[in-house]
Structures are given as structure tokens and as C-alpha cells.
Symmetry: C2
Subunit: 199 residues, 2 copies
Amino acid sequence: MSAYSHLQMTSPATTQRTLSTAEQRRAELVEAAVRVFAERGYAAPTTEIAKAAGISQAYLFRLFPTKPDLFAAAYEVASNRMYEAFAQAAAEAKASGEDPLEAMGRAYTDLIRRDREVLLMQIHSYVGAGIDDAARAAVHRCFERLYDLLRRETGASEQEAKQWFAYGMLINVMAAIHADEVDAEWAQVLTQEPEEGDC
Amino acid sequence: MSAYSHLQMTSPATTQRTLSTAEQRRAELVEAAVRVFAERGYAAPTTEIAKAAGISQAYLFRLFPTKPDLFAAAYEVASNRMYEAFAQAAAEAKASGEDPLEAMGRAYTDLIRRDREVLLMQIHSYVGAGIDDAARAAVHRCFERLYDLLRRETGASEQEAKQWFAYGMLINVMAAIHADEVDAEWAQVLTQEPEEGDC
DNA sequence: GCCCGGAGTGAGTGACTAATCACTCAACAG
DNA sequence: CTGTTGAGTGATTAGTCACTCACTCCGGGC
């Protein structure tokens, strides 16, 4: 019978009317996909994603014809979320006369706590980029946009940009391997927040 | 670890046998596993690894009872190869009065060209670390050993060590996503070799 | 009332894959 | 020659996965 009909029956009556119901479901599905892919990687089964989204697996495949399509959409959403966080941090820093480079650096560490999924999706996409051409293109686009934003908004030099990305990658990896749960010097050093005099 | 560590045992000179010893086959299998896992990630099927090693899939499972066991062994070999490269670079630099920190940095970029598999295994293990407990432990051990080596041999400060690892992670990721094949400013900047005045 | 189209699903299917099992054969000791 | 042991395999199994299809349900237009 209705196996999981008790999940979210309270569908908001005041839904945004700009989205049709199918588009809305698609958006919900992608949100769920981000959650599950972030946790279990590309190998996450579609059944589990469908369950997380509260729909049947069959309907998942109506909304996204193939699994790579779904993964690409999830990655797109996650990398947009990251981009927006950085753009906002840069804009706010600019408005308040702060150093935008430093603000964007802080935005990264903030992102770990608030939105761990985004960083995990990033790591998983690096693996996907080694195999899937579409994933690789998406990852390259993400780096390009972020690099352009950084150079444009902060005026960082090439060397500064490189260093900024390097620390970002370190944060990504440390989050992926759960270094924060390890009680050892290396873990403490490599996950600690940057001090003031960082160079 | 110590169970399969006899890489080149003394082959019996008196008797020539057409059949290999199990230990020898195990070592060959692990070498093949490193190649295949590096290329295709944790999802690489055991049939393919067996084929690469020139043995049957059934025998693969006799030599390693489970796939995670095999992956862990492959990762161990790959990270040892990395460790040895760093240790050697540090030792040589020390002997010749060079700066060991810089030498170890150069060893990393050299490693990309010579032994790309090692870096790819590293990236793949980050994903494995999010799922498999054994893989996570292995990755943590690898970081610990490397961190200790760095601090001991180069006398780098915590901050210097952190920066060294950050650049290492950047190199890892750029290799994984094939950034070197991209013709764009971000790719060129993030993959270029470090200049002399890097800080 | 009746059709039509879109939302949504239960029940599959074929392809694969980790792991098992029953078995063969080579080598050697006695 | 014979019994034993370890190397090695073909065939199979149990389970999982991406993906499909025939179907139901429901609201709106005629």
C-alpha cells in the first residue's frame, strides 16, 4: 500500500506559483540528491535518493532521464551555493571597506559548518571528473567562475589566488576525511583556522 | 601490513617452479590493483583487477578475502611509494646542504610526472575515507606519517607545514581533474610550478 | 458524463558484481 | 608409484543497480 505516504503530506498550500508542480518536484529531488550524493558519493543508489526526496524511483527517472544527469544537476546546485556564498562575502566586505580576500577566506571556513554538503560534493566531483566528461566540464566551469570572481572582486595576484585555492583544497580534503574528529597534532594543525599573520 | 610486506623474497635458486608463490602473486595483484583503482576509482570491478593481474577473479578473492581488503593494500603500497619519495628527497637535500622543505616540495611535482597513480589513489582514498572505516584509518595514518616526516626532517613550523600540505592538496586535485589539459588562466595559474619567492 | 493530459507509482528486467564452490593440476616427499 | 598440499580456475549464486513500462489517479475543459 502507501508505504511512505506519511512523509510530508503537508504540502504547503502557498507554494510559489512561478514553478509548476513538476519543476517544484524536480527542485526538491535535486536538493535530496545533493544530500545523498554528498554523504555517499557518486555510488549512492537512485532508490535511496528517491526515498530521500519522498518519490518513487520510477518518477525520479522521469524527472531526470539518467543518473549522470541527476548528478550534474546536484553538482550545479551545490557549486552555485558555494559561489553565492563567496560572492556575498566579497560584496559585503567591499561595502564595509573590509579586505575582500580575507572575507572570502573566512567565507570558506564558515561554509564548512553551515553547508558541509557543498564541500563533500566538491570532493566527489573531483573523482567524477576523472571519468565522466560532463562532470569534468562542470568542475572546470566551477573553478573558472570562482577564479574570476576572486581576481575581480579582491584584486588578488596570481600567486595570492593560487594560495587561496590551495588552502581551500586543504579544507575540502580535511572535511572529507573527517580530520576534525582525529585527536593528533597533524589533524589539529591542518584543520585549524588561519591566524592573522598567515604569510 | 606485515602480512603482505615481503615484496621481494629470496627466490629459491635451486628449484625452478612454474607456479608462483602466493606472496609473489599477492604482490603482483596489488600492483595491478593500484593501476586499476587509480584509473577507475573505488568502483573498479574486481574482474578487471584480476584480468590486469593475469589471474582469475576467484583467485583474487583467495588472496584478499574482501574488496576493501584489496583496496586497503593497494592504498598502503601507493602511499608508501609517496612516503619513500619524500623521505629520499629530504635525505638527499640534507646531505647536500639544500633546503629540505623546498626539496620535498619539488619531490611532489616530480611525483606527478613519474607516478601519477599515487596521486590518483590519494584522491580516491579521500572518497573511500568518507565511507569505509578501514580506508579512513589508512588515510589518517598516511597523513600522520607524512606530517611527522615533514616536521622532523625540515624543521618546518606548523604554519609552514600547513601551507606545504595545502599546496600538495591543490596539486592532487588539479591532477585529478586534468586541469593541465585546460587552456585557461585559472588552470595555468593553479597548475604552474612554484616560483622562487613563493611567500 | 467523458475524454485528455500530467503527476505519480508498483512491479518488474537485464546487466553487473562481489563472493563462493567444486574442481583440476603441478609439485614434491616418502 | 602414491598421498598430500598449495596454486589456480570455470561456473554459479545472491544481491544490487540503473532503467522501463503499463498502469492509476485526478483536475479541468467540453
